[in-house]
Amino acid sequence: MDTLNSVSRTFYNEILTEHNIHPFNKRDLTDAGFIKRGVNPSCGDDITLKINIDENGIITDGAYIGDGCAISQASCDIMLDLVIGKNKEEALRLKEIFLRMIKDEISDEEEEMLEEAVAFADIRYMPARVKCAVLGWRTLEEILK
């Protein structure tokens, strides 16, 4: 069986650690139109996602507050970078591609669409942490669907 150990010494690459230590989107969005809390009870990841969507279905702004492991926090931060400015359908499509990336089932074009979120591709070797990487995406989906 492949393990993280046989793939790389550490999963925590620079993209991930940078977004964890200096998150761009971690702030309170006081005038948010949509607010949703996402929790992983077993490990204590706890985020509250706040976004604004305009009349054309475009995500005009987004931010999150909360705490949790670096994977959950950085993944949420990167997700917001990706989806702000996109419409609901595009955001949901990115979520679906992100989930398929974890199963190693995406094309090169799709990989490019994920931009920095590809930093989480190796999460597949840490099955116990997949829920951390998808917490932000799962919470976003609950707002959008």
Binding site: L4, N5, S8, R9, T10, F11, Y12, E14, T17, E18, N20, I21, S42, C43, G44, D67, G68, C69, A70, I71, M126, R129, C132
Partner: protein, 407 residues
């Protein structure tokens, strides 16, 4: 006597097959060959359903099972083997008590005292009991090192107190509870004292008569035995008054359509086919521990803890939960690394081939009490080496750098 680590580790097939540094022993221990072979020998040569068959093989299985019970009784210095009930684990033992003991001694308005440091297994069953009976669970708070303030305990005790159930060794702090005065005060109120020995029995000498506890619960798998075998010790006169927990086979004297008379101890509490292989494995684990000597195990684990605490204290970013004194930790070092989430610490350790725990260690209310959502935990066993400990503490010094902190 110092333990010969080389010789000891050769007894554990796990260490031959794996180069993982396993320091999550409070979760479960590895198993020596002597235990594995005792279990497989039973299933290869002696397997039959005990008590039931009127043939040699079944009688032999009965004999082996009862011998295991006798070994457990000797190990904790019970008065007689019939005071030993085999269960699946400490959790089941405590649930048995919450149900059966609760039936005879807890009524509406009564109080049950547990400590805030308890494992969920020694808290939730009594909360369930309290709810069922209209009783109340009262929490004994602990000090910063995990110890209990006897004056605080006195303040909680009263005429309504029926049960006091407290851990013998915290699985977060690692400190041993000073049980004797708590037991004495409990008995002065005619209440029952239960000791959760899941963590203490594998790592300290336990003498139920000297401690005068009414009940003791522990698991086999944390003390080199197989998973799925645990123990409930109880004073005979109380066990005899308690109703059975589970109903079924081999726990009755006679059953008619309208009547049932229960079997004497210990069978009354062991409904259904019992775990003979597990009990034999546990007896082999006890033989193994006795072969080394619990005194020597305690000494070896204290030495390892001292070394680990010394190394950890060199790291300015690690905060140890509990006492600064290594003698209060008994192999358990729970900690936080500054600004790194415990799950990330644990995952990085995993990538460095080190198994340590992250989370609340089944002590959620304690983590709330000390105001931390989760922690990491190293838990050592006598078979661990200083070299292993050093590799763990070296790994901890790398973690903040790997997480992108520049210092």
């Amino acid at each position: 006597m110092d333990i010969d680590k080389f010789k000891i580790r050769a007894d554990f097939p796990f260490f031959e097959k794996s180069d993982l540094i396993y320091v999550d022993n409070a979760a479960t221990s590895q198993k020596p060959r002597q235990v594995i072979e005792a279990v497989s020998d039973y299933y290869i040569e002696h397997n039959a359903n005990p008590y039931r068959g009127l043939y040699d093989l079944s009688e032999d299985a009965t004999g082996r099972y009862e011998h295991a019970r006798k070994r457990v009784a000797e190990f904790i210095n019970a008065r007689e083997p019939s005071e030993i009930i085999f269960t699946r684990n400490a959790t089941e033992s405590l649930n048995l008590l919450a149900y059966s003991l609760g039936e005879i001694c807890v009524n509406e308005g009564d109080e049950i005292i547990v400590s805030i440091a308890e494992h969920h297994s020694n808290m939730l069953p009594f909360r369930m009991l309290a709810k069922r009976k209209g009783a109340k669970v009262i929490y004994l708070e602990c000090n910063k090192d995990g110890s209990f303030d006897i004056e605080k305990f006195k303040g909680l005790l009263n005429e309504k107190t029926r049960i006091v159930s407290i851990t013998g060794m915290s699985n977060v702090y690692g400190n041993i509870t000073e049980v004797s005065s708590i037991v004495k005060l409990t008995h002065e109120k005619d209440a029952i004292f239960i000791l959760d020995g899941a963590q203490s029995v594998p790592h300290s000498i336990t003498d139920v008569q000297a401690l005068d506890v009414d009940f003791l619960a522990f698991s086999g798998h944390k003390m080199l035995g197989p998973m799925g075998i645990g123990v409930l010790y109880g004073k005979k006169e109380i066990l005899e008054r308690m109703p059975p927990f589970l109903q079924g086979g081999e726990m009755i004297e006679y059953v008619t359509k309208d009547e049932v008379s229960y079997a004497p101890l210990p069978n009354k509490f062991e409904a259904g086919t019992v775990n003979v292989g597990g009990a034999i494995g546990l007896a082999a684990a006890i033989d193994y521990i006795d072969g080394i000597g619990m005194n020597n195990i305690v000494k070896a684990e204290e030495e390892l803890t001292r070394f680990a605490m010394d190394e950890i204290n060199k790291n300015p970013y690690v905060e140890v939960i509990g006492s600064d004194d290594y003698r209060m930790h008994n192999g358990i070092i729970t900690f936080r690394i500054k600004d790194v989430h415990p799950h990330d610490v644990s995952s990085i350790c995993a990538s460095l081939n080190i198994a340590i725990r992250a989370g609340h260690h089944c002590a959620g209310p304690l983590h709330d009490y000390i105001g931390i959502s989760s922690t990491n935990r190293i838990s050592l066993m006598f078979y661990n080496t200083e070299d292993e400990v050093k590799r763990v503490t070296d790994a901890l010094t790398k973690i903040r750098k790997l997480m992108g902190f520049k210092e």
